[in-house]
């Protein structure tokens, strides 16, 4: 009996499901960042708004990367439904706290997929995920650094204005 399924697809259906879930997660992230950009803009934090617009675009690129990988491997990439996006935040700081939370969740999710790949000896997908692991290092650094600004500058007086100004300048020093 021929191995018909292997002829059609390289990744197992389990990994395919996990990758599709990741596609959805990246799409959600992108939408959440867009909503954060809107909130910041409405409340006068224009630099932060620009920062979140950039983040939204990056997450969208991540989503497409996963999406195309699934297709290239002969899998079925599912266009995700994105609903229940939070539109209002209580404070400027809360926006950045949630941004960091979101990045932590993404890192965790990629780690989980990596673990599954290791278990099923799917080295191709592991190699593909390496890029994302490196990317998460940068994403988490940036989100954490933004929150740090709240500590070092402080929110009193013109603090929030200062923080906003510096958020746009956050860069990850690439090793």
């Amino acid at each position: 009996m021929k191995d018909l399924i292997r002829i059609k697809t390289l990744i197992s259906s389990e990994i395919e499901t996990l990758l599709n879930r990741q596609v959805k997660m990246e799409a959600m992230s992108s939408s959440v960042y867009l909503s954060m950009a809107s909130w910041c803009n409405r409340n006068g934090y224009d630099f932060s708004s620009d920062y979140f617009f950039k983040q939204a675009e990056e997450e969208r690129q991540h989503q497409l990367k996963f999406y195309k990988y699934i297709l290239d491997m002969g899998g079925n990439a599912v266009s995700p439904e994105v609903t229940d996006i939070k539109q209002e935040y209580n404070s400027f700081r809360e926006v950045f706290e949630e941004a960091l939370d979101q990045e932590i969740a993404v890192t965790q999710s990629i780690n989980n997929i990596y673990g599954r790949c290791l278990k099923s000896q799917d080295f191709l997908t592991m190699e593909f995920l390496n890029w994302f692991l490196k990317e998460q290092r940068e994403e988490e650094y940036k989100a954490r650094r933004a929150l740090e600004l709240f500590e070092v500058i402080g929110e009193e007086g013109t603090g929030r204005w200062q923080i906003d100004k510096h958020v746009g300048e956050i860069k990850y020093p690439q090793a």
């Binding site: 009996m1 021929k2 018909l4 399924i5 002829i7 059609k8 259906s13 079925n76």
Partner: protein, 121 residues
Amino acid sequence: MQEVITREPQTMTEVFKTKVGGIYQFDAERCWFVDFAGKMAKFDYRNLLKLRKAVYNVDIEGILLDSSKSPDVEIIFLCACDHCYVLTLMQIIALKEILQGAFVMLELNNIIHDKLYRVPA
């Protein structure tokens, strides 16, 4: 329109079979035949996956616990596929068992191919 196919059984390899039906692989046409509910239906790779998804997505528990008078009949309709099944709950459970068994066997076949033929240890 449904194409009901009859074929010589020896040209097909049995993948998984129960008392009520089975799935057979036909290497020459790279497809599978699902023998269930009184018909032999041809499925290619994509459609077989769609069938699996459709059957797995039926909420069996939900139907069992549903006390309304609606009939427990499910229509399994696959997009871009010639076949359609109208099944009772018992048939859904039976078909699910067949599909689960078949996919385990196909995975086993994949492992055997990997270990024995592609890169023998």
